[in-house]
Symmetry: C2
Subunit: 340 residues, 2 copies
Amino acid sequence: MLAATYTGRVDTTDLGEFGLIERIRGMLGAPADARLVAGIGDDAAVWRSGAACVIATTDTMVAGVHFLPGQVAWSDVGWKALASNVSDIAAMGGRPSFALVTLSLPRMSVDPIDELYAGLRECAEAHAVTIAGGDIVAAPVFSVTVALLGEAACAADGTPLLLRRDAARPGDAVGVTGTLGASAGGLRALLEGATRAALVAAHMRPRPRVDAGVAAIAAGVTCGMDISDGLAQDLGHICDESGCGADVRFRDIPIAPALAAAYPADARTMAASGGEDYELLLVAPEPRLRAADAALRADGATGVTIIGSITERRGVRMLDAAGGEVRLTSAGWDHLGRET
Amino acid sequence: MLAATYTGRVDTTDLGEFGLIERIRGMLGAPADARLVAGIGDDAAVWRSGAACVIATTDTMVAGVHFLPGQVAWSDVGWKALASNVSDIAAMGGRPSFALVTLSLPRMSVDPIDELYAGLRECAEAHAVTIAGGDIVAAPVFSVTVALLGEAACAADGTPLLLRRDAARPGDAVGVTGTLGASAGGLRALLEGATRAALVAAHMRPRPRVDAGVAAIAAGVTCGMDISDGLAQDLGHICDESGCGADVRFRDIPIAPALAAAYPADARTMAASGGEDYELLLVAPEPRLRAADAALRADGATGVTIIGSITERRGVRMLDAAGGEVRLTSAGWDHLGRET
């Protein structure tokens, strides 16, 4: 019955996620509420609420689609369900505050739900998030949806201070926080059945960089996002939205030490293209990135590494030491950049 | 594989929704953030954000569980997915503002999604809600989750002014907004295959009473909720939370005119027990309910009908004109109060 009802001319898989988002954006038209600062299509939605600025985001994980029950711990599912949302708030430069958790439940034991909530709670405590409510519904397949609210800093005139994707300008420096590739290394270790505890932990329990987003905002950075699809692809998103390009010094990309030790031959490529590290990609005049770096290091956190610059010419180029272009193979890309 | 993973000692169906919510509340412990005003277990979560008070709620509709594709219009599914959330905000006395919409999509035609969004948009426009973002994920079964934010009025000292379930006091009057039973009448008409356009419309496109919640707050009412499970059951929730009881004058319950015309023999019972009218149940000293009534009528809206009073003795009693108790049969209850 469902299949018959759902059949039509244009299929969701023809459009793809981004095509469908654009279609929905078109159907909804211009936002009616002038308080909306960032709407559909951004990492998170932002609106003014009195003197404060609210940031809101939501992410869903479906059993069998986003994780395989029996192959991952339910506590890690809980952690990641919240962490992916925290990273969306961090990507805007905000601090997370309150979460709503919706469980769609088939008839099942409560033990996995206990474990899921243990992971949710650990992630909530790590990021000062309070789970304030949610919904529980019956469903044929398990899924967990987290809606997370947060707050942005505001200028004296009430303007929210945000990391946007469309604020890169030619001449800006490109920086990344922390080191990259550990999550991709963890995924590879899992697929190969290898024991690489540090890498697997980075993959299962990514740590969003709320501190780095806040430090970047304080240093005057206005352009950035979290690295979820991989450095090369995410920098492409920023360049597309900003109408510019970027040159990246391939050798300056900071590689996660555990990745370099485990997979030395592929480490740099994996760091450049692997997803889900949830570090931040920041674009600003170089002194601002250096100020954010200094503030983070003074707090004992990993800082910002400058890896390239924004160009007028479109497209993202990875350059070797001699200035020649490095090409990331699409095979390596598809293998590492996308979990299925 | 899923079934094996999910098997355990205690089953979600043993606990039920409310048992599971209590279990989760216990696991999460006391809220860490002192800004939280209302957390898990209320109609909606409420927290302070700067000088404002944010209200947040979320509801999910799953195909085959909450609606049957092919038997309802997708635009009505969209309307109801948002309307149920708007009613949760109205139930706290707040105004809705921004929504996040998550679609879990099997491979399907985009036509139903267009229709769904048409209904979402109509409901959003009717209640001054802006759809600000969301998420789209692949899933084996269609579902739509709406997370809705809103704002509560605040006292001069910043205390949020809310309609709570635990604020009824003996001697308070019990009032309901508008008329009741139209949604139950619409469901009955659908099940009987009867053409009752006004009743069916009330069932498919319920109209949450944001105006009534705001008027009640302005009149000093502090206790109330929306009528989603039926008057008798929802008044029971208020009495349980407040530690009191209520006497309702059965003959004073305002019956939807279309219901009285269509099902005269059963209309009053259906009005007393039918769910999903999304009118508000308000409890306060009588002058405050009269003030809210006058304000609503002055705006051309349906007002507040006083139908009874709060008692020290526990339990909700329906009384006939002679003061005898009217018993709602459980058969009528289960048939009308719960959609499946």
